[in-house]
């Protein structure tokens, strides 16, 4: 596609339910990043992928969070047993490998846990 696509755009879920957030990066972009943006906060790094592997999972806040990427393309961020503090905008970004390649962001998924 022309840009990074994220779905759904908005998600409201009940506390304790599982949610899946999807990111479809720009075709050919091997690097993929997930960030969380809470109200009034900056972007909190969650995880990044190089191809299908995730060399750095250090930002995942708890074991309720997991992510995978298949075929070097689409990535899914899963949050199990959601809590109210998980409410945030989840942003995905992708880039080519290389020094001069900037991040391209999607429009994010706004997750609200009630």
């Amino acid at each position: 596609g022309a840009g990074v696509s994220q779905s759904p755009s908005n998600k409201v879920t009940e506390k304790g339910k599982d949610v899946e957030l999807r990111c479809d990066p720009i075709s050919g972009h091997t690097a993929l990043y997930w960030y969380r943006q809470s109200l009034g906060q900056g972007l909190e790094f969650l995880i990044y992928f190089q191809g299908n592997s995730a060399p750095d999972k250090s930002g995942l806040p708890s074991d309720r969070f997991s992510a995978e990427r298949t075929g070097g393309s689409v990535s899914t961020l899963t949050i199990q047993r959601t809590q109210q503090e998980d409410s945030a905008v989840y942003l995905c970004a992708s880039s080519l490998v290389g020094n001069n390649s900037p991040l391209h962001f999607g429009n994010g998924t706004r997750l609200t846990v009630t």
């Binding site: 690097a31 009034g40 900056g42 972007l43 060399p55 905008v89 900037p102 962001f105």
Partner: protein, 117 residues
Amino acid sequence: AQTVTQSQPEMSVQEAETVTLSCTYDTSESDYYLFWYKQPPSRQMILVIRQEAYKQQNATENRFSVNFQKAAKSFSLKISDSQLGDAAMYFCAYRSRVGSGTYKYIFGTGTRLKVLA
């Protein structure tokens, strides 16, 4: 660990005037990039300008320019002739290399810019 600090949660500027947004960072690395991203209400982050640490010359993109002070670890963004469309959240970001061709980005907490007509 690298950190990025934006000390101005909110700034205002009159249309057609100039405004400067501040950013400082902390790192022990010598090779890195710095970025300013803009986030309008649509939520999509848009790259405004970038600076390579080994370049002494300040980057410029039309009405946007930076004042990069490497020794002071300061990277401010100047917006000249401000327009209503410049109103957005602005994030400063630091990029370090974590592997062959791959990077980690660290973002500040953002500055909300209001442009007054």
